[in-house]
């Protein structure tokens, strides 16, 4: 072996990562070559110097400041246990009073109220986000001014909760839901999400993050009415797919029907999301399905540019076969992708779910 080749593996030799054969070669070479012996010893000293660096102590009040920030970003932080207990108590009261309340509501306004038979189910299954929403809706009608003030976030709070690079510039319309718009979609969903219903109705089916986050919309000092039960229950394991949120607020945009009519989406919102992406400065990874998606590809070809090393910004797309999810994660990281798109309803991202990091989203267009 030449000196250069030996030096290429000297570092690995120091770490004990070479196999026996290569290890012997390096040992033999450095015992014979003065220059490489010197190189080896210098690298070894360098590594020892780094190994010997003492850890830096944390800045002053690090934990305190972190706690304060966490409380600010999530007012229920540190109080969750208390609130969960309170929610349990409220749930118990509701279990007893619910049927009577439902009966009362039914008598007074039968046409406007949900079916009273829903209530016992809601109480029995607090974790189900779908059900949680219903008592809130019922009470909202009765206590409209009070709940409205609770739902209204202070402007500065809204700003803090808005994660970086989460969504493309959003369309303003009266149906826009602030909570849904700021969902942390930048972390991969759990594998269970992949089999979630493909045609969600966002208004009726809140996303799991919504069920976790309403607590942030409530000022910490506010008293907790029974309607907040939904806010403190743990996130359900079964979550709505991210498209439920992203597509929901795109559906009403004017571009939906004009910019991307060919985009394939059984939910009908994919085209709108694509149209919105086209206007944003997002980098997109598109994982194509094996099936016929020619119309979708045609639209992509028209509206996107191939990504390059130097062009990692703007609306660009990389196509990958649906099997190559590890490669997808690599590319997502390399190009700082903002979006990952697949038209495969059965895409299995579980292999890379922990590797995709904030800033990378999954959108199901099928």
């Amino acid at each position: 072996m030449k000196c250069l080749e030996i030096r290429e593996i000297t570092s690995e030799f120091i770490d004990g990562g070479l196999d026996e054969k290569n290890s012997s070669l390096v040992k033999q070479h450095i015992s014979e070559c003065v220059e490489c012996s010197k190189y080896y010893n210098e690298i070894k000293t360098t590594v020892s110097l780094c190994n010997s660096l003492k850890p830096l102590t944390l800045p002053e009040n690090f934990s305190f400041r972190l706690n304060e920030k966490l409380k600010k970003s999530d007012p229920w932080y540190k109080n969750k246990k208390l609130y969960i207990s309170a929610a349990g108590l409220a749930a118990s009261i509701y279990l007893i009073a619910g049927p009577f309340y439902s009966l009362y509501m039914n008598i007074n306004n039968m046409q406007e109220q949900p079916q009273p038979t829903d209530y016992p189910q809601i109480v029995q299954n607090e974790a189900a986000a779908d059900n949680d929403k219903q008592p809130a809706e019922v009470l909202k009608k009765e206590e409209a001014p009070a709940t409205a003030s609770l739902k209204e976030k202070p402007p500065e709070q809204k700003k803090q909760e808005e994660p970086d690079r989460i969504l493309p510039p959003k369309e303003q319309n009266s149906d826009y839901n602030e909570n849904e718009a700021t969902l942390p979609q930048d972390i991969m969903p759990e594998p269970e999400i992949q089999s979630a219903p493909q045609k969600p109705a966002p208004q009726a089916t809140p996303s799991p993050q919504v069920s976790m986050k309403p607590e942030a919309t409530m000022p910490p000092e506010a008293t907790m009415p029974a309607v907040i039960i939904a806010a403190v229950t743990p996130a359900p394991v079964q979550e709505s797919p991210p498209e439920a949120v992203l597509f929901a607020d795109m559906d009403n945009s004017a571009e939906t029907k004009t910019a991307a009519p060919a985009a394939k989406s059984s939910g009908g919102g994919g085209g709108a999301a694509m149209a919105s992406l086209a206007k944003s400065e997002a980098t997109v990874l598109y994982i194509k399905n094996k099936g016929d998606n020619s119309d979708f590809k045609e639209w992509l070809a028209k509206n996107t540019a191939p990504i390059t090393e130097t062009n990692s910004h703007g609306f660009s797309v990389i196509s990958l076969s649906s099997e190559d999810y590890t490669k997808a994660a690599e590319i997502a990281q390399k190009y700082s992708l903002n979006y990952v798109i697949t038209d495969s309803a059965n895409a299995d991202f579980s292999a890379i779910s922990d590797l995709l990091t904030p800033g990378n989203y999954i959108i199901f267009t099928n």
Binding site: G17, E42, S48, S52, L53, S63, I84, D354, T357
Partner: protein, 198 residues
């Protein structure tokens, strides 16, 4: 003593006290990684705080398929990269100024006295400071490789997952990073290498 897995399960069910237990052992490590990558104490402080806020926010998405620290350090790395991008500098030249305070005076390194030193090398505080400065002269990806491998002592496999590059790339990056750091140190601290002069 609860395992990380148990703590994560508790956090997911809404127990924020478990979050504190989970992250406490990692706070100093995350801060040190951030200092190593960013070469600036204030930015590293911000990065570490931002990292833990993100971890709390997105812990529900952690499925446990990778080690928790791999996920945590990956977020740390990405937060640091975001800060570097904001600085609009892909790498640093001589980075001494990043280890200075606003007045331009050298900041005293906040070193812990408790960790034992290896027998073969007994570094003074000044030497430690200079080694950190030497590391800060490397390009970001070499600096990160040194920080994760030679300061934090992480295995190649986990570094590969944190940086999202192949193990082969990790090996060659560490090899080159060490070679460059060696050149800087040999030039600045020849006395440390005098035993090996030919």
């Amino acid at each position: 003593m609860e395992s990380e897995k148990e703590l994560i399960a508790k956090i997911k069910s809404g127990d924020s006290l478990a979050f504190e237990k989970l992250i406490t052992p990692y706070q100093q490590k995350v801060y040190n990684i951030a200092v190593g990558i960013l070469c600036n104490y204030e930015d590293a402080d911000d990065a570490a705080q931002e990292t833990f806020i993100k971890v709390f926010k997105y812990i529900n998405n952690f499925s446990g398929k990778s080690l928790f620290y791999t996920w945590l350090y990956r977020i740390t790395y990405n937060v640091c990269l975001d800060i570097l991008r904001k600085r609009n500098k892909s790498h640093f030249g001589f980075i001494t100024k990043y280890f200075q305070n606003d007045e331009g005076d050298d900041m005293e390194l906040q070193l812990e006295d408790t960790a034992p030193l290896p027998d073969e090398i007994c570094m003074t505080f000044e030497t430690q400071d200079e080694v950190r400065r030497a590391i800060s002269k490397l390009k970001e990806h070499y600096r990160t490789a040194i920080v994760l491998r030679d300061i934090e002592g992480l295995p190649y496999e986990e570094i590969s997952k944190i940086l999202d590059i192949s193990e082969g790339t990790v090996k060659s990056r560490i090899n080159r990073a060490r070679a460059q750091l060696k050149d800087i140190l040999v030039k600045d601290f020849p006395e440390l290498f005098k035993n090996y002069s030919v």
